[in-house]
Amino acid sequence: MRGLGEADRGTPAARGAPVTLQIDACEVRVPAGTSVLRAAAEAGIEIPKLCASELLEAFGSCRLCLVEIEGMKGYPAACTTPVAAGMRVTTHGARLERLRRGVMELYLSDHPLAAIAAPAGGRSELEAMARVVGVQDVRYGFAGANHVAPLRADGQANPLHAPCDASNPYFSFDPAQCIVCSRCVRACDDVQGTFALTIQGRGFASRLVPGQDESFLASECVSCGACVQACPTGALLEKSVAALGPAERGIVTTCAYCGVGCSFRAEMRGETLVRMVPDKDGGANHGHACVKGRFATGYATHPDRILRPMVRARTSDPWREVSWEEAIAHAAQRFKDIQRRHGRDAIGGITSSRCTNEETYLVQKLVRAAFGNNNVDTCARVCHSPTGYGLKNTLGEAAGTQAFDSVMQADVILVIGANPTDAHPVFASQLKRRLRQGAQLIVADPRRIDLVRSPHVAARHHLALRPGTNVALLNALAHVVVAEGLVDEAFVAARCEAADFARWRAFIADPRHAPEASAPITGVPASEVRAAARLYARADNAAIYYGLGVTEHAQGSTAVMAIANLAMATGNIGRPGLGVNPLRGQNNVQGAGDMGSFPHEFSAYRHVADDAVRASFEQAWGVALSPEPGLRLPNMFEAALDGEFLGIYIEGEDLAQSDPDTQHVTAALEAMQCVVVHDLFLNETARYAHVFLPGSSFLEKEGTFTNSERRVSRVRRVMTPRNGHEDWQVTQLLANAMGYPMHYASAAEIMDEIARLTPTFRGIGHARLDALGSLQWPCNEAAPEGTPTMHVDTFVRGKGRFLVTEYVATREKVTPRFPLILTTGRILSQYNVGAQTRRTANAAWHAGDLLEIHPQDAEDRGIADGDCVGLESRVGRTTLPARVTDRVPPGVVYTTFHFPDSGANVVTTENSDWATNCPEYKVTAVEVTRVSRPSAWQERTRRLREDQAALLPEADRGSAG
């Protein structure tokens, strides 16, 4: 069922040159390639339709959209007929109406309206069309063969009837209401690209089947919901709509999960969210979504939410519920005490890349202006800080170069260290669409990720490199480009620094970078590397997409530079269809960096030592600011253990689960005197907290998020904050209590201040976003409509700068004791530490973390699929179930970190990127053994979790974890 109040023009927009034609009495001008159906809709003429939808290519099966066209025989279907100059179309008339009624009657004979209309709450398109076409009765009667009734007229079981499939936790499929229009099938194929649905049989016997005639849940369906949105009858229907009834109002907002940043219409009934419908006009998603954003919103109203502030003197004391005033005063007092006794630098704060730009900006302002130091960092530290460092130093701006739509013009796509079908699903669907159109794919990843081979998509090259050898592989690719004369000399000469390029060329041409020389390091055959390099370099448009598999390494920043070098050397920067595209993990990772969450940078990545920039903030904020960088996250933990860093305000992050070397992190938290956790749930970190400030979910506040393509989109308050305050208001209370006055009346005012102080945001404000939908920064006088493609004529830094990228092997080496390499990642249905998704029905797909291990390695250790195994590194030990699979190569094991109990980060180490201290999550030397009981850490942690649960106020018991 389509979104509330959304018009559907029947077929997708076309891009051709304008064409003029006549439809009924109207002269219509539309781009060539537009269907007659859409052209009519744009002129306000509604032609009845059933199988067509704006989100899908036309199919032409229902024959309801018949029209007459001068000079054409018969009655062509308006949805499949493209416009032509001078065409004369008639859409209504007695003959057409009679034909359409006939079509409709045939449908209704098989699908009685009475049975079909009800569940969609009066919004069934079939019902609406029946009304438009003027059919109420059916000449054929309902006694004939149909699949609606469970019993035939003679009382026998009806063999055509199939029961409702309610296996999916979020939607049901009732075959009795299906008119076999195949919109869902096409949505699954064309929009999502999963190919899970088929129509089986013919005529009256035809029916929709998921997978190999399985239930929806058992099939390969990824529960993106595109089919549900496409269904015109309510055969596929959200269970929430069935339970709550149709919505009354829709408010456009932005998904709070991943860095794709999908736009949604939150459909509400009073204060209750009925469903999320992806917005057709969303710049990042164009009406598509994934199982997280569309369905996994139940956490907002989950009983585990803590809604009242709490304090306690020691972490072994019971929590005491207090008023907001008391909690804030308590936190401020303790912070001030610590500063008085241990110095101004003894406290700091963590901003969240899940919170809005406005909230993030305010937390860093709190730290710099009210705490009086630069000890502010963000979880972007542990994911994409190398992107900022690497791209700023080569291209001049710490951000991706393209819009997502750019992929539709790419000819060759290199995906390295990213798993978009799991981690960035809506972008992955667009990418797969481009691949089905013929673009070539190169995947560089130790694992055989889904993209390597999935229905109608196959990578030309899968470079299955050893974890930790990205730089060696990227250097080998670049070597081939230089050695085989594939450099775009004209581009390099015009756009890049000559001396740096000359130095890089000499460096990379050295035989030690040849694929033959690096094969023993990377494990990738030289011939594959050469072929991939040629494919990439010779393409008209070649794009690189990368993720945390590039950044979360000891050489993360170096690898990002190597990617920028490769793109510059081949001239793949500065137009649509190519570029360097970091895929950000959490929704507002880009924004967190942009807003100045890093300890050494103000907004827009300007160093605190820059006197002019600092002066602008000092003037605006009315305080003196420190020119020295502050502590980064890992440095904070070290300083805490040294007794020099004792108080922390943590907004929306779960450090004790998401950061590496968990036992080190928890020891650091234990060493602090005042830990203030501001979050939705009593997370793992809150066990070490002295003050708990309840947070608000993205449904409860105003603000903006910035996605991976620098797109700033609005987040809108669709329900009252259950905890009483939007998060920026809480930060403001704390600032005031610390003695630094803040008086923002709205999030919009905060954005206005950001725009005043940040050159790349000068043209961004809530009112403009409300009018334009979204804006990609830089957005200012030079680019009032924003900047989809960066570095078009010149690089942001002027000339592009090649940097030498020597491969340095990680310190983390396999040994006889730890002979395997562990690498970590994500899965579609869960998100990061899982605090939200674990509290939804998404557990139906992934109820716990698993350790993927190659059959050979499993056999050597006597491990069978499903066995409980111990995973041990030099820093820690945990246990989890094994999955034996050849998706991972021998010598490599893989897991996710969505569940606190399996604690993948108990084993990850303190190793980090040389430039940014981004942890080396992707490489840990481990051993795996069969075990029968949980590790000591798990037992301790479970006990601790139980103890902590007992310290909660009565009403909140059972909420821990």
Partner: protein
């Protein structure tokens, strides 16, 4: 973890971080540029207290520091000052 262990650990982390930075800058065209790059990096990204400690560690013998890192820390100690905006 006792305070003593931690002191050792913190120093080891600083040394490892300094060596990692030095490894990157080792491919600079000459030693002076490499040392310059490392010193600038530390000034831009390390809090004064971390810079102080690594200098103290060098003064106490500098165990574990690579050759290049050692030269850089010596330079850092000689003239520590806030980073300048134009530095890489």
């Amino acid at each position: 973890m006792s305070r003593v262990d931690q002191a050792g650990r913190a120093e080891r982390r600083l040394v490892a971080m300094a060596n990692d930075i030095a490894d990157y800058f080792a491919s600079a065209p000459d030693r002076a540029t490499a040392v310059d790059g490392i010193v600038t990096h530390m000034r831009r990204y390390w809090v004064p207290r971390m810079r102080e400690r690594i200098c103290a560690h060098l003064a106490a013998g500098g165990a574990g520091l690579s050759d290049l890192a050692r030269s850089a820390v010596a330079r850092l100690g000689a003239a520590d000052a806030p980073a300048r905006p134009g530095d890489p």
